[in-house]
């Protein structure tokens, strides 16, 4: 009887201690990524201005698939994939897929020059404060999020894209 009580007591104490340790470990290991976007979850909403000063709010694109690309003019793979994105944008913009290209906070001049050079027609918005990059947990560029018409993150790609891949992704988020 007493032995049973002792075992129960020991189990409870050890469980409490273990729970505390696991919580601490979990909280510590996820402290940098706690709020960042994850596949399957709702894409964090944001509001950014494009070069003309128009506001783009992600949630306004509900009902459309959103190909959310983070880029910078200094990033070489970004340059490679931009023309592919432009090509596919022409194919899919009438099928309900939108591209939003989030620049990592450069000058309007640099972005304009770049957009002119590659003849980009999709909206380019600028994340001057880095808040959106933080919310999406962006570190290396380029990074691409596929967002479904109901606002969920379908996939996250952290590499340079080929035109075939982009086409594939567009198919996946087509409404």
């Amino acid at each position: 009887m007493k032995k049973k009580r002792r075992l129960a007591l020991r189990t409870i104490i050890l469980t409490v201690l273990l729970a505390a340790i696991f919580y601490t470990l979990y909280a510590n290991l996820t402290k940098d990524t706690r709020k960042t976007a994850a596949v399957g979850e709702e894409a964090p909403d944001f509001v950014l201005k494009d070069l003309e000063g128009n506001e783009h709010r992600l949630s306004d694109y509900r009902g459309k698939g959103v190909f959310l690309n983070f880029w910078g003019t200094w990033c070489k793979p970004c340059k490679t994939e931009m023309p592919y994105m432009e090509n596919q944008y022409q194919q899919y913009k009438d099928q309900g897929v939108e591209i939003i290209a989030v620049n990592a906070g450069e000058t309007n001049l640099a972005i304009e020059t770049f957009a002119k050079q590659y003849q980009l027609s999709f909206p380019i918005v600028v994340d001057h404060t880095g808040e959106v990059q933080k919310a999406y947990g962006i570190y290396p560029l380029p990074a691409t999020f596929l967002i479904s018409p109901d606002g969920k993150i379908v996939d996250y790609i952290e590499q340079s894209l080929t035109e075939d891949m982009i086409k594939n992704y567009m198919e996946r988020i087509k409404p």
Binding site: K3, R6, L7, R10, T11, I13, L14, L17, A20, I21, Y23, T24, L25, A27, N28, L29, K31, R34, P44, D45, F46, V47, L48, R57, G72, T73, W74, K76, A104, G105, E106, T107, N108, L109, A110, E112, T113, V125, D127, T129, E131, V132, K134, A135, Y139
Partner: protein
């Protein structure tokens, strides 16, 4: 496990070495010793007796003091290794951290990074070590304090003679009439604040049992301290962020979830000079500049809720001058002046110049963080900024930028003048000019730079401090309790006309022996002998004899 019944009638838990009530030796091995091991009163430490289920095994592992000490030593060694290379948090580097350690320190740096030494307090195995020490503290304490408490609570006045004989302080003597002497001793004991209990002419005098709980109170303090440290990882309890803010900028205060914003109006660096008085003269001559004040003039705002990227509506709360040791405090946050950067390039001014005559036709000033595209100088003179590379580099023969920070700016200008309506193109980087379309008539002459200062601020919030302070206070109470009080017990037993006197204390045996001496002074009751000292003396004499012989 069966209980052990002592001849005095007390029933002891299995594994008991000395009967909790009368002190009779229950473990036969101990019978051969001359003196008793009085640790934990010879009680049954549970860990050593129950070892059946996995729970018991884990429990017993952590109950071992050896394991606890090993954990502490391993943690110390890890902490020492963590000081060999700089910690990640103290670095300000542009490249990814994993690359940095390998590039800077070679294979050692790579291993260092891989094992998590670069962020020691954040690495999972270090946290596990600290947590294990915490678990060890809890279990070691529980496993010892409960049996000790029971043994001290169950102790009887009349002790087994074998128990008394094996105490460090002991004496015995045949005495006929003891009544008067015992009364004197009782009175003196009470005067010395002993708690005296009597049973069939036997005495137990005890004081300072409280001192025995010192180490455990101490451990409780440590555990509260660890809980406080653990809470730092819980959201909302702890913020420690750096904020670099340029003069004129308004930024969200990190760690506040965009709830508060800050404008930096000016960073001020003041030096002592002659006007501060003669006393400084010598120091100034020796040292050159001595800083008097670091200050950021700021305005604090509360922001309405906003999405990432969105600029919220701000409501001004206050203007403040943050100085060293004079942080801005609001809500539960404090913002400290911790660093600065002076004279960062913000704007560059160029003059449109005729190369031959040296005549200038006006200046253009380029804001490096937000340059304009066209600069009209009037009279048909006009400069177009064709491209701008904040951090200029040439890759595969093509100009590009390494990052978006204006570290090494370069510009491509198109200079349109009345005599060159098509415009001439000039590429200007620091200390070099390229004219890609052939020799130009005009050039952009570098004239001046405008600089701007940055304030380096630290944002801090720490709700765990009261908990950590409480842990510290309890820790010190435990230390005081165990250090400044003594647990002393004196047993006096009458058996067949023989008086047995024994004493036990947890420290300061010399003082204790002196105290007993004054208590029995002038009575027929014998002064106890320190059996440990006696043994040591004998051993020394034996050795001495040998060496002489």
């Amino acid at each position: 496990m069966e209980k052990v019944k002592c001849e005095c009638g007390h029933i002891n838990p299995h594994g008991t070495i000395l009967c909790e009530a009368c002190g009779k030796i229950l473990d036969e091995k101990m019978n051969q010793n001359e003196l008793l091991d009085m640790r934990y009163e010879g009680s049954a430490r549970r860990s050593q007796t129950y070892n059946k289920t996995i729970i018991d095994k884990v429990w017993n592992f952590f109950s071992s003091v050896k394991v606890g000490v090993t954990l502490i030593v391993v943690t110390l060694i890890a902490s020492i290794i963590g000081t060999v290379l700089p910690q990640e948090g103290n670095l300000s580097i542009q490249i990814p951290v994993n690359q940095y350690y390998e590039e800077r320190y070679g294979w050692f740096g790579k291993i260092y990074y891989t094992l998590g030494f670069h962020d020691l307090y954040g690495s999972w195995w270090y946290l596990l070590l600290i947590a294990s020490i915490g678990v060890s503290l809890v279990i070691c304490s529980l496993d010892r304090v409960i049996p000790l408490y029971k043994a001290l609570k169950n102790q009887k006045v009349t002790r087994n003679s074998g128990f008394l004989k094996r105490q460090r302080l002991y004496s015995e003597k045949q005495i006929d009439n003891t009544v008067g002497d015992i009364e004197i001793v009782k009175e003196r004991l009470t005067k010395k604040r002993y708690n005296v209990m009597e049973e069939n002419g036997n005495l137990l005098a005890e004081k300072g049992r409280f001192s025995r709980w010192g180490p455990y109170i101490n451990h409780i303090g440590l555990i509260i301290f660890l809980i406080g440290a653990m809470l730092r990882f819980a959201p909302g309890f702890y913020v420690n962020e750096a904020l670099w803010i340029k003069e004129g900028d308004t930024l969200a205060i990190p760690g506040t979830n965009k709830e508060y914003y800050l404008t930096n109006h000016q960073f001020i660096l003041e030096l002592y000079d002659e006007s501060d008085g003669e006393v400084y003269k010598e120091a100034l001559n020796q040292k050159g500049g001595v800083v008097k004040n670091y200050q950021s003039n700021i305005t604090l705002y509360k922001a309405e809720e906003s999405l990432p990227g969105e600029k919220p509506k701000l409501h001004k709360l206050e203007d403040y001058q943050i100085q060293v040791n004079k942080p801005l405090k609001f809500d539960q946050y404090a913002i400290y002046q911790s660093s600065y950067r002076l004279n960062e390039i913000a704007k560059m001014t160029f003059s449109l110049t005729d190369k031959e005559s040296g005549q200038t036709f006006g200046d253009i000033t380029i804001d490096l963080t937000n340059p304009e595209e066209n600069y009209d100088l009037g009279n048909g003179y006009h400069v177009e900024l064709m491209s701008y590379f904040p951090d200029f580099q040439i890759v595969d023969g093509e100009p590009s930028t390494k990052s978006s920070k204006p570290v090494n700016p370069a510009f491509a200008f198109k200079m349109v003048t009345p005599d060159k309506p098509q415009g001439e193109v000039s590429f200007a980087a620091i200390q070099q000019t390229i004219e890609p379309m052939g020799e130009n008539k005009y050039k952009m002459t570098f004239k001046s730079v405008d600089t701007v200062n940055y304030s380096g601020l630290t944002v801090r919030k720490d709700l765990t401090l009261p908990i950590i302070a409480l842990g510290g206070v309890i820790f010190l109470i435990g230390v005081a309790q165990g250090s400044f009080w003594y647990h002393r017990r004196i047993w006096l037993k009458q058996e067949n006309g023989v008086i047995l006197l024994a004493g036990h204390t947890n420290k300061n045996w010399y003082g204790f022996a002196k105290e007993i001496e004054t208590i029995v002074h002038g009575t027929k009751i014998p002064v106890p002998v320190d059996q440990t000292l006696l043994k040591e003396k004998k051993a020394m004499e034996g050795q001495g004899g040998k060496s002489v012989g």
